[in-house]
């Protein structure tokens, strides 16, 4: 398959990019004066959170595309993005929790970004449960697409309401320069790009796997009907 041929070099490239990003994190970027080495979590936490959000947007776009075209590849792509989004947002929550313990002396606190990430993690984990529940008969793909759309519509409302509730998260990019040294900025950009390549490679591998699974299921169903 074409996708498999691209996926393997992409995965190797992702490994190299992540290794380069680690060089920037541990060697190039200066140690932050107040938090020390713990601040290095930021270079993993931020890209994970951003790519998770993009992944969820991918679920939305693929779900809309499925309802419009009815091509099953879009449904599988939505599933791929949901799985990666849940993985990345879960890791963002874990790294955020470690950061919170070091910075605010608590593993968890109410914050719009943290709470929004947690709520979206719940929503898309439920979406994955729905995908595996095998309900709705022939129309289950349509049902998944509807839930994929509704889930993303909720994200801005969750963020707004969580921000109105309370916030203590640092506004890293709110002001010009965001209080980051130029080397830190460069490291952030390199990390985001490296995790982006990893995200793309992971998406290709998983999507190719789901396509294969779908083909095998189709063949098995055809064999059963023949027997």
């Amino acid at each position: 398959m074409k996708l498999n041929r691209i996926a393997i070099p992409a995965a190797v490239l992702a490994g190299i990019c992540l290794a380069v990003a680690q060089y920037f994190v541990w060697v190039y970027a200066p140690v932050e004066a107040t938090m020390g080495q713990v601040q290095k979590i930021f270079y993993t936490h931020l890209p994970l959170a951003w790519w998770a959000l993009l992944s969820f947007f991918g679920v939305f776009v693929a779900s809309v595309a499925y309802l419009v075209t009815r091509r099953e590849q879009w449904d599988l792509l939505a599933g791929t993005f949901a799985e990666i989004g849940v993985l990345f947002s879960g890791l963002a929550l874990l790294t955020g929790s470690v950061w919170g313990r070091a910075a605010w002396n608590t593993w968890w606190t109410w914050d719009p970004r943290l709470s929004t990430t947690l709520v979206t993690w719940f929503v898309y984990t439920a979406y994955l449960v729905l995908r595996s529940a095998e309900i709705g008969g022939a129309g289950q793909r349509k049902i998944r697409a509807v839930v994929g759309i509704v889930a993303f519509l909720d994200v801005p409302l969750v963020f707004l309401s969580a921000r109105m509730w309370r916030s203590i998260h640092p506004a890293v990019f709110a002001s010009k320069g965001g209080g980051l040294e130029p080397e830190m900025w460069t490291t952030v950009l390199v990390s985001v790009a490296a995790w982006g390549v990893f995200f793309a490679a992971l998406a290709m591998v998983r999507f190719a796997g789901l396509l294969q699974q779908e083909r095998v299921n189709g063949l098995l169903a055809a064999r059963r009907s023949f027997e």
Partner: protein
């Protein structure tokens, strides 16, 4: 609209003539309120925010039971195809289910409000106008979502838990608004300082009302 009211009236008659009505939803909510009252020492009062949170939690669990009942009725009586073939648009079915669900939810909340006053020791709200607006605003959002996604878990053996895990996180913005304004009402604070929260409720209702009108036909009639 007339056809939607027809469906709502059919559903409500079936629920009440079936004998049990929304008893299960009311009982579950009352149990939650009672169990939550154990979190305070004897003679101690639960803070207004805690009481508001348990009110909306009880309402959320009721919502799941109500919409599973409403969507399970046709399945149970094997007349789901009849509803699909009825001369009603899918949006009419969705609206009918939403209206029926709203009536049942309001009915269950009539039991929950006195329960939180009695068991949790909060004062009854003075501002009935804003209290009514809050409950109606949040309930519209809850039922819009419940009616759209209630059909999702049809056919699943674990439909109660499936609907809960899908609906609960989605309704977080509404619950935050309901808890914040509800706490102000129960502690006799002026609600004018919380008008932004009504904006969140309005935005949620509008977004999901529009989404449900467009998306329900894909959910309903998919079998």
């Amino acid at each position: 609209m007339r056809k939607a009211l027809c469906i709502a009236s059919k559903d409500l008659r079936q629920v009440f003539l079936g004998g049990s009505g929304p008893v299960q939803a009311v009982l579950l909510g009352l149990l939650l309120v009672f169990i939550f009252s154990l979190s305070a020492a004897p003679g101690e009062r639960i803070p207004a925010q805690g009481a508001a949170a348990i009110f909306w939690l009880a309402s959320s669990f009721s919502l799941v039971l109500i919409f599973n009942t409403l969507f399970h009725m046709e399945e149970e009586n094997e007349v789901a195809t009849a509803l699909l073939l009825a001369p009603v648009s899918p949006q009419g079915v969705w609206l009918g289910k939403a209206i029926g669900g709203m009536v049942l939810l309001l009915l269950t909340q009539l039991f929950f409000l006195p329960a939180i006053i009695v068991f949790l020791g909060v004062e009854p709200p003075d501002d009935l106008l804003f209290g009514g607006l809050l409950v109606l605003g949040v309930d519209v959002g809850l039922t819009v979502l419940g009616s759209l996604l209630g059909a999702v878990s049809r056919g699943s053996e674990a439909r109660d838990s499936l609907l809960s895990i899908i609906v609960f996180p989605l309704q977080i913005p509404l619950l935050l608004a309901g808890i914040k304004v509800g706490a102000a009402l129960l502690s006799a604070e002026p609600v004018q300082g919380y008008m932004d929260w009504f904006g969140i409720i309005g935005a949620f209702d509008a977004v999901f009302l529009g989404a449900a009108m467009i998306l329900f036909p894909f959910v309903f009639g998919s079998e």
